[in-house]
Symmetry: C2
Subunit: 128 residues, 2 copies
């Protein structure tokens, strides 16, 4: 792996729909939509991965080295690496090796799908 992203749902119609405006309380999700989104949500439904994602996203420069992340947890390196792989496989983060260190960054598009799922219910006035 040298600059990979592994997009889980390359460019499906469902992805398009949900990316823009799939309110969870506007119309029932189809079986396929639900399955795709569940995969995405499973990747995020873990305390460690949630913190990793926020640490990467809030890191200066938009990137974070693994060495910066590992110290914040009482976990071994293989475990951190496993969680990063889950996030990467879900297409939520990208990675690149530069010299000795490996850097990670957030892929906003996929993260936006998650937000678009729940927010329309919260702020109906803003959206329409």
């Amino acid at each position: 792996m040298t600059a990979t992203t592994l997009p889980l749902f390359p460019n499906s119609k469902d992805a398009q729909d949900t990316a823009c405006c799939a309110p969870i309380a506007r119309q029932p999700l189809s079986e396929g939509e639900a399955a795709e989104l569940a995969v995405l949500l499973k990747a995020v439904a873990d305390p460690v991965r949630l913190r990793l994602l926020s640490m990467i996203g809030s890191h200066a420069g938009g990137e974070a080295c693994v060495c910066d992340l590992t110290d914040a947890f009482d976990l071994t390196a293989p475990t951190i690496s496993h969680h990063l792989k889950v996030l990467r496989t879900a297409g939520l983060i990208g990675s690149q090796r530069r010299g000795t260190w490996v850097y990670y960054w957030i892929i906003p598009g996929q993260v936006a799908r998650l937000g678009a799922l729940f927010t329309p219910l919260a702020i109906p006035a803003v959206t329409g």
Copy 2:
């Protein structure tokens, strides 16, 4: 149970923070925040529960009877009941028995927490 909600995080400070504006890429989540949100996300990170939630939310009148939900799945009644309990325990839906049938509705506040988590990253122009 007759009109319960079982709020998982009654009124913690973390809940307040994240309910309003906890951007996943603005500042690192604390260990406690991440743990709470992970519980919430786990409840939603399942295709069946995702569909249940959207079916309840989009149902006319804002309420749905279990009898309306069961037919949409190839699952037994106990399994559906189990998933509904998970959502209820997470504080995402409320329930009430009226006569023979049990009705479920969405609790917007908790759902909003999930949206607030991911959207700030998606629309940086709007938020600031």
